[in-house]
């Protein structure tokens, strides 16, 4: 159905609760096999969007397609291929982890020997082996998250929808959780996860959508968003072997796209407008004029900064 490699396609999606437009004309695609971060402050509309994707909420406008299937017309086949982890993982009292997994295997119509082997697989993957006989209620938050993730994997879905999976985890559990998600990507799964803290999971995301007040304000790979944020400018910090004095500015200013930001002894910073590949002209020009470069660093615009500027309305 879908021409592109997108596993998830969201088009003109709007959801209102009374007067609140929780989701307002949201559009984005998520490519197959990536980890996609859905990031925005509390109340931005993440959970609402996720509920529509997970076939739990009927939108007012637009549509969502998973694997080219519409969530409204083909929810059943979508559910077969989608693992959903809600923002708060509720548990049934009195069940052990193993019973919990067995129960959810049965809700996926997995029975008998298949059930045992599937549970064994997900238990190994999510490292729940030691916890199988523990009562679900006695688990820590991190353990519960892992158990719920195990549950989403039982029917071997291609797409995992995780609502705030890392919130409330201690640093160690968060790192373990990241590793687990990376492992899932290695297994070919697409992971769509939301977070209200950018730094929490963005290091492992291949692409992100940033949502605020129901609108997606930025979407793309992290590189793309960084480039866009700096309006095509990339900053570089350069350290030379010796102090260039005043010679530097007249020399480099002849290059179109070069702008000196500051110079301080042996160090200087410049902004390069245009294709980043062509910044090598700067290095060539420097070396042909006898300047020896001892260090270059491309200044990463911190994602946190991007997030802050996007969500404080600067972009809108």
């Amino acid at each position: 159905m879908s021409l592109s490699g997108a596993i998830l396609q969201v088009r003109n999606l709007s959801v209102s609760f009374g007067k609140i437009k929780a989701v307002n004309n949201v559009n984005f695609d998520v490519e197959r096999g990536v980890i996609h971060g859905f990031i925005g402050p509390n109340g931005a509309g993440k959970t609402t969007t996720i509920r529509v994707i997970s076939t739990l909420q009927v939108p007012d406008e637009g549509g969502v397609w998973v694997n080219g299937q519409n969530v409204l017309t083909q929810p059943d086949s979508i559910r077969m291929n989608l693992g959903y982890m809600p923002d708060h993982v509720g548990v049934y009292a009195g069940l052990s982890v193993h019973e919990y997994l067995e129960f959810f295997a049965m809700t996926r119509r997995i029975y008998g020997a298949k059930k045992a082997s599937v549970i064994a697989d997900v238990v190994e993957l999510t490292d729940l082996g030691d916890l199988l006989d523990r009562e679900v209620e006695s688990l820590s938050k991190g353990m519960r998250q892992r158990m719920c993730l195990a549950q989403t994997l039982l029917h071997e879905p291609d797409l995992l929808i995780l609502d705030e999976p890392a919130s409330g985890l201690d640093p160690r559990a968060r790192i373990e959780f990241r590793d687990l998600i990376l492992e899932l990507r290695r297994l070919g799964k697409t992971v769509f996860l939301s977070s209200h803290i950018l730094s929490e999971l963005s290091p492992i995301c291949d692409s992100v959508s940033i949502i605020e007040k129901g609108r997606v304000v930025a979407h793309g790979s992290i590189d793309e968003i960084q480039t866009l944020m700096s309006q095509g400018k990339t900053s570089f910090d350069v350290t030379l072997l010796k102090d260039p004095g005043n010679e530097l500015e007249p020399l480099l200013s002849q290059l179109p796209g070069f702008m000196l930001v500051m110079i301080q002894g042996k160090k200087f910073r410049f902004e390069w407008t245009g294709d980043v590949e062509e910044v090598s002209k700067v290095w060539e020009l420097l070396s042909t004029n006898g300047f020896v470069i001892s260090g270059i660093s491309k200044k990463e615009d911190n994602l946190e900064n991007i997030f802050m500027s996007l969500t404080t309305g600067e972009v809108q």
Binding site: R11, S54, L72
Partner: protein, 536 residues
Amino acid sequence: MVIQIIYLVIVGFVLSLNILDWKATNSRPDALWSTVSTTELVYVYLFMQTLALCVIFPFLAGSTISRERSEKTWALLRTTSMTPGELIRGKFFALLSQGVFILLISAPLLVMMTLLGGVALENLLLEYLVHVVVIAWISAVGVLSSAITKKGAASYISTPLFFFFPMLAALNGAGFTYLSEKKTITSQLINFHASEPKAFYLTISVIFISGLGSLLGAIHLTSPKNSVRSLPTRIGIFMLYGYAAIWFFVYAPSLLNMGGDRDFLILAFFAGILLVPLLRIAGAGPEVPLGIRQLGRDKPIASRLLVLFTPGGIRNLLFCVLIILLFIPAGMVEVGGTLNDPNIDLVTATAGVDFLRDLYFSVLFWLASLMALAWFLGQCGCGSILSASLAFTTHLVAVLVLTVLKMRWGIQGWPAYEPGLGMISTPFNLIQTSGSYGAINFQRGFPSYFEAGAVRVDTIFNIATFVLFTVLGCGVSLVKKMPLIAVYSGDDGKLLLDLPDTAPVLDDSGIEIDPSGADDSESGSDSQVETSKDEA
């Protein structure tokens, strides 16, 4: 686990002892050891058990889904391969087995008592069956109540309220049967069946309908709000009402004999059952994601046949009125056979037939008027619970106002609440007159529908309000551009069924904007409209 096994062993042991003994003496155990005190003990115990079931079980049943909602496990379950039907069925049987387990706990004790005499074992088993039916009924209605209430706390309160009157009646009946009469409910039912078989089956089917209807309603509430997917449930609801209508039809003649209280209680109960879910369906508002459009595309002919059964806009109202119409034949029943009975006073009987027909028509018109009001409120944006209760209250207030006006000006035949000469076409009077031998006299305040030149003000009132609210509702729908009865276009037109060919478009932010995107998406939806038209 150990305790369960011990219990089962005891039950098995006592049971086998009992059977052995019964075989040896070839008579009932109570013939051997019968004593008054143990008999009483068994009845007291049975009563206590009923008490426990009626008091505890509604709380248990009422939180079954709402607890899952508040713990967020419900959302998880609904993304699995379980259908709403399976989920509700699972909930129902889980509750039922909990209830049966409660019964099993007490079983060994009771079985031992039967050894001492009192109640025969098979009677006790039958009595347990009655208790199981009670549990099943509470479970079914509780699942519905729990599915209706979104918030856990509200459900804890609403369910027992829901059950308050039925449970009070049940306790009253159980107390009377067990403690005063010292009989089992089973034996009472057998007597009931022998003396009035039709009323017996009517009562049984009321329990059956309300139980099954509750489960269907819960499935309906749990299903995605997508008209095509809720079609089977709606048809099921329709068929249940059809069943109820047939029972009315069959039972109506025996109402003639005016056995008194119970007949009218049953009638009022039916009217109540009719009302609540229908008012909610009528007032459900036109939120029709994927209305008939989808069905029309897949099955153009079926969509025309089934259009009334799909939710949305005026279809809600029409669906409810259609159900009400199912009950009209009951009002038309000619009961020649009864009239030929020499034991019956012909004047009273003829009056009874007229009364019955009038009663049906006035109740039906009243229901239609109420449905229209609920529908109108739904179109205005009230939720279905709010619409239903507002409609009900408004109607009562209107009647009370008319009553005041009537008392002020003394107008005859005005629809008003008046114990002596009221109209039976309001729930107020229906409840008031039900269970009264004088019901016929209340209805006499109006001329019969079948009198030449008769004008029934209550009917004019109800028909007028029906028309008024239908027109108002249509007006609101047109102003708000909401689906009315549209089959293909206009109806939830903003929902996309087909993926537009365009890449995602981000607006305002300046990121990833594709200027041609907007045009493309428009032409995309145009072509979609065209396909629908082609099929139409």
